[in-house]
Symmetry: C2
Subunit: 533 residues, 2 copies
């Protein structure tokens, strides 16, 4: 295509007319039921935008919430729970520490299971206390919200929405154990849709497909420990039989923080909206402190290093290994780290308690990004076109790293097994081998080339559900079928019965015909023979 510049006015006009649609500017009341932790942080952009568009928002949070705090854009309603904020903080810290414990697999699995069980019991008790808080629930009924915006990762929000009889919008990254596929009735053939935590890509040879199928078959059991209590709680509160799948199926629209630059192409449903990279919006100029660091880095530029909002400390031995590796590259490294500084910290490495990650990644002097490959970090890497060295720690981080690696945009290391040399080599590779920069830039161009910004899209669909009291036209009829009807097993059985019946009757008719035609002769012959004897 020639680079001939043209006036894009017709498109602009269309978009403008669409944006100025009078229905868009109606303000309403929205109830938010978020999940504490990094999940909450990812929705803040949407909340700010919804506030700017005039909507009144109430955020429900337990008194022990760590990240959910009073904010200028919403009213916070706290409810009492039988545990303290410190308990939750301790759970978060333990989660961070746990990933650096190098134990045998079985011990690790047992420990993870116990930890998941403990933490989910804690959070579940909060949900139970919310739903049994008669005064608060009555005030919510009275408030007459238009819709509920909830994170179904822990399905308390969906129960609240059903209790209040309100349409729900789900805002999330993804759900474990295929619950998102169940909730949306979205097909997900295990032959090319990699299951969560499988580390598979979309192109699988035979054995990875077997692994994928085994995970697929075991998914419904794996998540029971976390999710099944919510089904029982919902049944009690709503006074009717409710399953976890019913809760997950209750959303009008699913706003998913992913896209098909990070994730692989696969079937989707019309009520799924993809807003991957929503966290890249709202870039700010660097503060004087960080501007100074970047300017002082010279021709080699900088490397940004963060393990996310949940992990900011590392065991000393590992921290020293990392510090050693960082000292081997010519770039200045800005490392978000709140622990005791490793004694071998090199001169090129600056420890900071917090860093403006997206703004730093957007700086032209940034050469690489060391990340735990959480979905936020990955998208900030993609948006800003920065090659990555990925140290996945838990949850979807391994899968995210795998996706970036298969696309040639980064190198993945096992944080427990890597040596100082491995990290230094990985950094040198992604910085000096131009293919990494080219690949991440290609991904960045594809990702950023979209007809509407993800933040605007998310806001549009929240408002759509508020305006129309749901989106029933987007709900597939699959929700009203049993599993055997969905897979047409009754129809296949019926048709098979007919075919077999026809074959049987045809066979019987032929046999009867044969007996009629040849039978007598045979008998005559036989009797003739026997007479002859």
């Amino acid at each position: 295509m020639a680079a001939r510049s043209r006036d894009p006015s017709p498109l602009v006009l269309g978009l403008l007319l669409c944006a100025l649609n009078p229905t868009v500017s109606q303000a309403g009341k929205l109830l938010l039921v978020p999940v504490d932790g990094s999940h909450w942080l990812s929705g803040l952009g949407v909340i700010e935008q919804l506030h700017q568009r005039g909507h009144d928002m109430v955020v429900l949070a337990s008194e022990a919430s760590v990240h959910i705090k009073e904010g200028a854009f919403y009213t916070l309603k706290r409810y009492p729970v039988p545990f303290r904020r410190e308990d939750v903080e301790e759970a978060f810290i333990k989660l961070g520490h746990g990933v650096f414990e190098n134990e045998p697999l079985l011990q690790r699995v047992v420990k993870t299971y116990k930890k998941v069980k403990e933490d989910s019991a804690l959070i579940f008790s909060a949900c139970s206390h919310l739903l049994h808080n008669k005064e608060l629930m009555a005030s919510l009924v009275e408030s007459r919200f238009d819709a509920v915006l909830a994170d179904p990762f822990l399905p308390c929000g969906p129960i609240v929405a059903l209790y209040l009889g309100l349409p729900a919008v789900f805002f999330l990254n993804a759900l474990p154990c295929g619950l998102d596929f169940q909730g949306t009735q979205c097909p997900n053939p295990p032959s090319y849709v990699p299951r969560a935590l499988s580390l598979n890509s979309d192109h699988m040879t035979f054995l990875p497909r077997v692994k994928n199928m085994l995970i697929f078959l075991s998914e419904s059991f794996l998540c029971n420990v976390v999710y099944s209590p919510y089904g029982a709680l919902a049944s009690e509160v709503l006074q009717k039989d409710v399953t976890v799948q019913d809760l997950m199926s209750s959303a009008s629209v699913w706003i998913l923080r992913s896209d098909f630059v990070k994730d692989y192409s696969r079937p989707i449903m019309p009520n799924m909206v993809f807003v991957g990279g929503i966290n890249c919006a709202g870039k700010n100029p660097l503060s004087e402190e960080f501007e100074a660091y970047v300017n002082a880095s010279g021709e080699h530029g900088i490397v940004v290093f963060s393990l996310g909002s949940m992990v900011s400390e590392i065991p000393e031995k590992k921290a020293m290994e990392i510090a050693d590796a960082l000292g081997k590259i010519p770039q200045t490294v800005l490392w978000r780290y709140t622990g005791t500084p490793p004694p071998n910290l090199a001169k090129n490495t600056i420890l900071v308690k917090w860093l403006p990650q997206n703004d730093l990644l957007g700086h032209p002097k940034t050469r690489a990004f060391i990340t735990h490959s959480g979905s936020h970090g990955i998208y900030e890497g993609i948006c800003n076109g920065v090659p990555m060295v990925m140290l996945p720690l838990f949850a979807d981080q391994m899968d995210n790293a795998k996706r970036m690696e298969t696309r040639g945009a980064g190198v993945t290391l096992n944080v427990l097994e890597m040596t100082s040399e491995d990290l230094a080599n990985a950094l040198k590779t992604v910085i000096s081998d131009k293919s990494y920069k080219e690949n991440i830039m290609r991904l960045s161009r594809l990702h950023k080339d979209r007809p509407i910004e993800p933040l605007d899209l998310a806001v549009f669909w929240v408002e759509f559900v508020m305006r129309h009291k749901g989106a029933p036209h987007l709900r597939p009829a699959a929700h009203d079928l049993t599993w055997y009807q969905y897979h047409s097993l009754d129809v296949i059985g019926f048709l098979l019965a007919i075919v077999l019946g026809v074959v049987f009757i045809a066979y019987k008719c032929c046999a009867w015909g044969c007996r009629k035609c040849f039978g007598k002769k045979g008998r005559v012959k036989k009797s003739h023979k026997s007479k002859a004897h």
Copy 2:
């Protein structure tokens, strides 16, 4: 939601920034391979918009094309074919006449089969002549287009795109026989996705599901007569084995003229873009002639009546029945009709050779729309919120009518069997029963409430494919699997073999163990017994 007006500036700003994206304003070269008839007409809006955005377009059409003519927005390249324009016109006229012939079912099926075979042979020969036109094909190679925009309803465009090694964008309503599902690798469970021509809705009881499954199973044979020659032609031209599914799978992006207000919610794929209602854009004020008709209609308003671009004449007997019915309502009827005026035409009925359908439907005095329920007409009815009396004639029109009827937005009549009374009653019903107006207005609100106008969306995706030379990230890996791999049959077989093997070995071990434990005793007892005898 309170009707509090707010400044939508953040959203507008976002959209503006997005629309002003410098990559959007790069102009390129696009090759169009359309299908003659109403299909061509539906793409004109996109072509005009692409022209306004500076793209050079070449349209390929046979010398016998009826609807594809010279235009201000593109260069028309005609190629010679071994039949005349009159032959195509005759085929179109025969198609129109055929639908009014009331014959026994079997005779009708045989006649339709013959007609489809004849017409498709005609069009196929045009495609063959295009691809064997060495001079023209060489000039296309030299022209160095960025992409091909094709209607795959007759898959000549996909072959041209593959021959030129260019990415293709498909622009269409839908394909028969599930070819669109095959081409996109989109799952389509027959339990709730109604097959084309099934007249099923998405909520089916047992027998309709059986019917749906039978159509599903027979689809691959039904379309062979039309489509299989293209596979052979493509194999010859491209000098490698190419199937019809390969041709259909070659698109980077599918722009589909449907949405989930007209159609039922179902699985989709990330490279499907839905632009239903794209033909509603570009409304103009009525000409003096039509303005006068509308103004003269008084309080009762008008009814718009058209059977589409392909059918403008009706057998006299049927036309008289219709004229009789139209005379029974108090509204003024504007009827697009080019045949001899029926002698019993009432005073309230005005025959016109052409009418500005979308503009008339948008007039507040329009009370109802009598339509053949082609997708264009249906969308114009939805956009403008006009209840419909539907007289479906062929192809997808029956299904369209069914969709509108199940949503309470119109009444369907069998044009062959209906009496004058039926039509008059249907018109009175949709005009006087307020539920029809309410339902179509609800659909209209849902349909028009979208984050970006369909015309802009279509233009965006055509340009996206031109900019990025395709959209490989949106292509599902399912295209690289065999049918048994896609359905995981090899994996299921392998796992079953392991399970059965383990069961067999366990059984053998148990049997061996039992023999070891009890076998000797048994034998001892036995030998003891035999000794005792």
